[in-house]
Amino acid sequence: MDPVLQVNQLNASYRKNKVLTDVQFQIAPGTLTGIIGPNGAGKSTLLKVLLELHPRLSGTVSFFGTTYAKAKSRIGYVPQRGTVDWDFPTNALDVVMMGLYGKIGWLRWPTRKHRELALQALNEMGMADYAERQISQLSGGQQQRVFLARALVQDADLYFLDEPLAGVDAATERAIMNTLKLLKEQGKTVLVVHHDLQTVADYFDHVFMLNRTVVAHGPTADVFHQNNIYRTYGGTIRWMGEKSG
């Protein structure tokens, strides 16, 4: 099958420091990939460069065999929770509806139909009771579920999530992973920046190991082993979990 994402010879810098060098990979449809690497490895930058939120120095990126601009509506992005102002005067339902703004189009207002789609997505994340809650009154885990619900209403074919499990409670972590696995079963492709090495083997069928360039990439069972982890993290890692894959 054609890859949903193909990246060739990608280079990018952040504040004049080269962060990504010759990054080259492709992502097959229907995979759930964990992107791992040490702090400063360029994980978030990679996502931002792919989504053209950050400029690239060179290289090519193609989504579904076409450009990002043409494939935009098929791509969903869940930024890190800390990137937005949770004191913004709005409620959970409204935030979820924002995922539909691209589809609603210019000079139109959200309708009852959009409201119902958003409610349904909140329900899928176990957040239906919090629809009218002001977003600052939600816990970190609940805020993350709202973000997930917002990604769900986008009904994309390819999802990027930046550390969706950072600082969330165990129940939220389960809810999010169940949702991501469900998306995968529906044939969607999901890429997740992840930081907990212990859960990699349980959560992801593919793993993408990044440290300024691609260290290893492939099925978790094949590439997520001690040797590659050391190569990715250098000497900075002291412990790794039992590999179950």
Binding site: P89, T90, M98, G102, S139, Q142
Partner: protein
């Protein structure tokens, strides 16, 4: 209409437009940009005057809007080269304002344009500078300009309501949904500049900042809904105009100064008394109960 009536109408229009625009300013964390633009519009007005040799509303509006956009572009550019956001605002607006002051002193001479007027405004003269309109008759120039700007602000705000909301809350998502975030940023900056210059003549560069920021900051304390915040902010702006006028009449002092003072009083009332975020509610309300365990 009576003299007082025109003054109150002018001030209310200032309060309303500034209150609406101010909400987006503080939600986008750009309050400092209001300060910057309120000063650099002076340069736009001076240059428009030097080119056309007349102090007409339309020329001033165009000149000031361009100057405001120039400010926004320069601040953004300096920021991308690595200068801190606040520092670049400080550098750009003082420099452009200084050029405006120098031009007034050297090129404009004693035309009806001076720094004092630019900073403090002169709402007391507004009812006498009228233009003839069909049907309604003689209307103060400032009222005409403020009404036109208010209509533009309202139309742009309502037509792009959801776009303003999403680009203010989560610009990264907005960009990934294909919205022109940068274009909207500059459109907003143009609206800030227009509103500022329209309010400029009435209240001056310093007081316009009070009208832009304080009612919006007060409204923010009363509600969790953006639409309600906009309405409240506009209302508080109008209320400040009225309270300010009567304080000025009572104490025989500057109208624009009193209006800014009134926004401050209303903010203090909100800060202390707002049921949700006010200090009083923090003292009286029991601590929030622990949240219910999340459901998987």
């Amino acid at each position: 209409m009576s003299y007082t009536g025109w003054i109150l109408l002018t001030a209310s229009l200032v309060g309303l437009s500034c209150g609406l625009i101010g909400c987006l300013l503080i939600l986008r964390r750009m309050a400092m940009m209001a300060d910057a633009i309120s000063h650099t519009v002076l340069l736009g007005i001076v240059i428009a005057f030097l080119i056309t040799r007349e102090l007409s509303g339309v020329h001033m509006l165009i000149g000031a809007t361009l100057a405001g956009l120039l400010t926004a572009v320069l601040v953004q550019w300096l920021h991308t080269t690595g200068v801190q956001q606040e520092a670049s605002i400080g550098i750009v607006f003082t420099t452009l304002f200084a050029i405006g002051v120098v031009l007034i002193a050297t090129k404009v001479g004693n035309a009806h344009l001076d720094v004092q007027h630019a900073l403090m405004g002169e709402i007391t003269f507004i009812p006498w500078e009228t233009v003839e309109l069909p049907i309604v008759g003689a209307v103060p120039q400032a009222v005409l300009m403020l009404s036109s700007v208010l209509v533009v602000v309202l139309v742009v705000l309502l037509a792009l309501y959801k776009e303003w909301k999403i680009t203010s809350f989560d610009p990264a998502l907005a960009a990934s949904l294909g919205l022109p975030v940068v274009l909207l940023h500059y459109l907003f900056m143009a609206m800030v500049s227009m509103t500022t210059v329209a309010a400029f003549d009435a209240v001056g560069a310093i007081m316009v900042v009070a009208m832009l920021i304080t009612p919006a900051a007060s409204a923010y304390l009363w509600t969790d809904r953006l639409a309600v915040m906009l309405a409240l902010s506009g209302g508080i702006g109008v209320l400040s105009a009225f309270i300010g006028y009567y304080i000025a009449a009572w104490l025989d002092t500057s109208i624009s100064g009193s209006m800014a003072f009134a926004t401050g009083i209303l903010f203090m009332i909100s800060f202390i008394g707002s049921p949700k975020y006010g200090m009083a509610s923090r003292w009286t309300k029991p601590p929030e109960p622990a949240e219910a365990p999340p459901r998987a």
